[in-house]
């Protein structure tokens, strides 16, 4: 089965080395230079390609002392045939906010992983962590300690505060309405205990997006989505607007015509915006990057509850607080998170995400529970059914 180097024959996988897109098979073969585990990984994967089924067993409880997460146990169900991947655990490493690295930091991670693991990574996993893919149980603690000395820590897994993530924000983007990377870092550091020691009904994710373009998909992938927006008027540079028109941009059709709230008017010379009708969607700003910018009174809208389908169906986050000024975000978030976790801890079922809890108990009861007043921004429309559960009023009218 194997060639001279101990690499297995991989007739099916070899076909994935062809073509213009970077090949993960090439990557696994490269990793064979520094570890034997990828050889067995190739062998098992080739078998999966032949048989059309996976060969990984359910994860067991493995980890490092004092942490309840950050390591995903993984075992081969063909351990005798592929002993080098009998244990092949994943370590999630909390990424630096915005996924910025120096070459030195990247090499440090590589060196540690060459010494202790398979040499395979994901840059990055779905939640945002650096994913170190494949090591044995005895290597978890040494890897963890060497990473810690290099300034890195494990990320979250299981029913905990998951590793928060952020878009590039003010580091490179003119649209960022708050400092996403700082908020992400501050939240991460503030909740280290909750991140490493799962104590919740289920997972809780926070994602920080600087503007409504939402480059970190926070509205679809975070229990708490913090999306930058602004309150005052879009900043217009009339000179640049004229230049766009002169350069051939059909402002009426491509900008005003696609505005969802139809709040823009172009008379062939001047662009005017009815800002109180603008929904801050970003389309016009995306199209005319030099001429239009978000306003100056910046902050974020906080939305709650998104998740993938399992188990009561997928949810998008919905509005909880329509606007929080940028400078108050971190404190407001801490206050809200505390109240939400308290309610969730009390009323949430095992493996029930916050969004599903709200669906089950209803938004009014949830708002009562966390002490927030209802606001019309929270809904697309008021209810359209008459099944109202009136509460007894203090005056006793019922």
């Amino acid at each position: 089965m194997a060639d001279g180097n101990g690499k297995p024959k991989t007739e099916l996988l070899d076909q994935l080395e062809k073509g213009p897109w970077p090949s993960f098979v090439k990557e696994i073969k490269l990793a064979c230079e520094t570890s034997d585990a990828p050889k067995d990984l190739l062998g098992q994967l080739e078998l999966s390609y032949k048989e059309k089924v996976g060969h990984w067993k359910h994860g067991g409880l493995v980890g490092v002392l004092g942490y309840g997460g950050g390591v995903i146990g993984r075992y081969s169900d063909l351990a005798e045939k592929f002993p080098k991947i009998a244990h092949f655990h994943t370590m999630r490493i909390n990424q630096p906010a915005g996924w910025f690295y120096t070459s030195e930091a990247l090499r440090t991670i590589c060196d540690i992983w060459e010494k202790h693991g398979s040499g395979l990574t994901n840059m990055h996993g779905s939640t945002g962590d650096i994913v170190l893919l494949g090591t044995t149980t005895d290597q978890l603690e040494p890897t963890f300690q060497e990473l810690a000395r290099a300034g890195f820590d494990l990320g979250g897994s299981g029913s905990c505060m998951r590793t928060p993530s952020a878009c590039v924000g003010q580091a490179r983007c003119e649209w960022a309405c708050y400092d996403t990377m700082k908020l992400c870092y501050d939240v991460t550091m503030n909740y280290q205990d909750e991140l490493h020691r799962p104590a919740f009904p289920y997972k809780f994710k926070v994602k920080c997006a600087g503007c409504p373009n939402d480059c970190v998909a926070s509205i679809a992938r975070a229990d708490m989505s913090v999306i930058g927006t602004w309150k005052d008027d879009i900043q217009i540079d009339d000179g640049e607007v004229t230049k766009y028109a002169a350069a051939g941009l059909d402002i009426q059709k491509e900008v005003c015509g696609l505005c969802p709230s139809k709040c823009m008017d172009w008379n062939g010379k001047k662009l005017t915006i009815a800002n109180h009708e603008c929904v801050r969607c970003m389309h016009c700003i995306n199209v005319m990057t030099k001429a239009l910018r978000p306003g100056k009174e910046k902050g974020a809208v906080i939305l709650l509850g998104s998740k993938a389908p399992i188990m009561q169906g997928a949810l998008l986050s919905s509005v909880l607080v329509p606007f929080v000024p940028a400078e108050e975000l971190f404190d407001t978030l801490k206050e809200l998170i505390g109240r939400i976790w308290e309610f969730w801890d009390e009323y949430g079922n095992n493996r029930e995400r916050v969004g599903e809890l709200i669906q089950r108990v209803g938004l009014p009861a949830f708002l009562d529970g966390i002490g927030l007043d209802p606001a019309p921004e929270m809904v697309t429309a008021p209810r359209d059914n008459p099944y109202i559960f009136f509460q007894a009023e203090k005056g006793g009218n019922q």
Binding site: P22, Y49, S126, G151, R172
Partner: protein, 360 residues
């Protein structure tokens, strides 16, 4: 290096991002004025100060060896003062201040097999999951399909010739670690047969009440088998989500012949123009056909081509379909509309056509 003599460290948290920012970013943090797209995969951000930051974006395979990461590090040393970052879609970005280094860097990336692109109206990298490479509940391989689909769509990554941006995601089971539920095109691994219960090990490895409550449709009931506590599955109520397997290893449902892929379209997360939306079912089932998954590749490229030809400028896939209507989408793509496209889960009626507005 021995760590035994040193105190054990915990809860140090991630390194602060400001240790890794290029000087031009530190200087102009929060003071960027506008950006331009110089070429596919090349962005120029201009600061209030007049400073310019050039970003060169290249595809990564996401599953990357330390050898490749060291190559990226070496390229960063050579071209961008040792500074690089990754995007939320697994691309690698080099952050340059010297414009003359853009072309040599692009050339080296191309020679090393990393296409430059993924910006603006291009297809960016596919967000995806682990698949058979590293997951126990996968109904398919993730990296393999992504490789095949992007081989076919690579020109759409390196050219910005679509009506709008197009985001593809792949998840290898309904857990959707890849959160494919809001993508222009989603490829979703699915099982199609109920779990095969291992009654012999179930009482030892699973908690029966947790297992029963894990089923979204209430299809799992307690049952005594050979005198031991176990469960039974009401097969007509099972939609093969695999949530029971997540909580109980005695409920495996991988099946070589019946596992496969479904294709979903029209989702988005951006608020631009229309509000964020879920992806909707386009194709209920395609076979697992490794190593090149031709059925999946053809299905995705067909949808991309039909969209590219028919959508208006700035229209995302979902916005285009809303304008032309779903009947026309199925007609243009040649995809068959079946009973599986009709929702029959909770709140199903919300997707039934509740008006007499019909396009002919």
């Amino acid at each position: 290096m021995s760590t035994t003599a040193q105190p054990r460290l915990t809860d140090v948290g991630p390194p602060s991002y400001d240790k890794f920012l290029p000087p031009v970013v530190k200087k102009n943090y929060g003071k960027w004025k506008y950006h331009e797209n110089l070429a596919p995969g090349v962005l120029c951000h201009v600061a209030e100060s007049g400073d310019r930051l050039y970003t060169v974006r290249a595809a990564s395979p996401r599953l990357a060896s330390i050898q490749t990461l060291r190559l990226f590090a070496a390229l960063a040393d050579k071209y961008s003062g040792g500074h690089l970052r990754f995007t939320s879609r697994n691309n690698v970005e080099f952050l340059l201040t010297d414009k003359t280094k853009i072309e040599p860097l692009k050339k080296e990336l191309a020679e090393a097999g990393f296409p430059v692109g993924g910006t603006n109206n291009a297809i960016s990298n596919i967000v995806h999951t682990q698949g058979w490479v590293h997951c126990h509940s996968a109904a398919t391989d993730a990296s393999g399909i992504v490789k095949c689909v992007m081989d076919a769509l690579c020109d759409r990554f390196t050219h910005e010739n679509l009506p709008a941006k197009l985001r593809i995601a792949l998840a290898c089971c309904l857990n959707m670690c890849g959160a494919v539920h809001c993508s222009d095109i989603s490829i979703l691994g699915i099982h199609r047969v109920p779990p095969k219960i291992k009654h012999d090990i179930l009482p030892k490895v699973c908690e029966v009440p947790t297992l029963i409550s894990s089923c979204p449709t209430g299809a799992i009931r307690p049952k005594t088998v050979d005198g031991k506590n176990s469960v039974e599955v009401i097969e007509e109520q099972c939609m093969y989500c695999g949530n029971c397997y997540t909580v109980c290893p005695a409920m495996p449902l991988a099946d070589a012949e019946n596992d496969g892929l479904s294709i979903w379209v029209g989702g988005k997360v951006s608020n631009a123009r229309s509000t964020p939306k879920f992806s909707k079912l386009a194709i209920p089932f395609l076979p697992n056909n490794p190593p090149r998954w031709p059925e999946v590749v053809n299905a995705v490229t067909n949808i991309v081509d039909v969209y590219a030809k028919n959508a208006h400028k700035h229209e995302r896939v979902g916005e285009w379909i809303e304008r032309i209507g779903w009947p026309r989408f199925f007609q243009l793509t040649g995809i068959e509309f079946t009973r599986y496209h009709l929702d029959d889960f909770k709140h199903a009626g919300l997707t039934y056509a509740r008006s007499a507005q019909i396009r002919f």
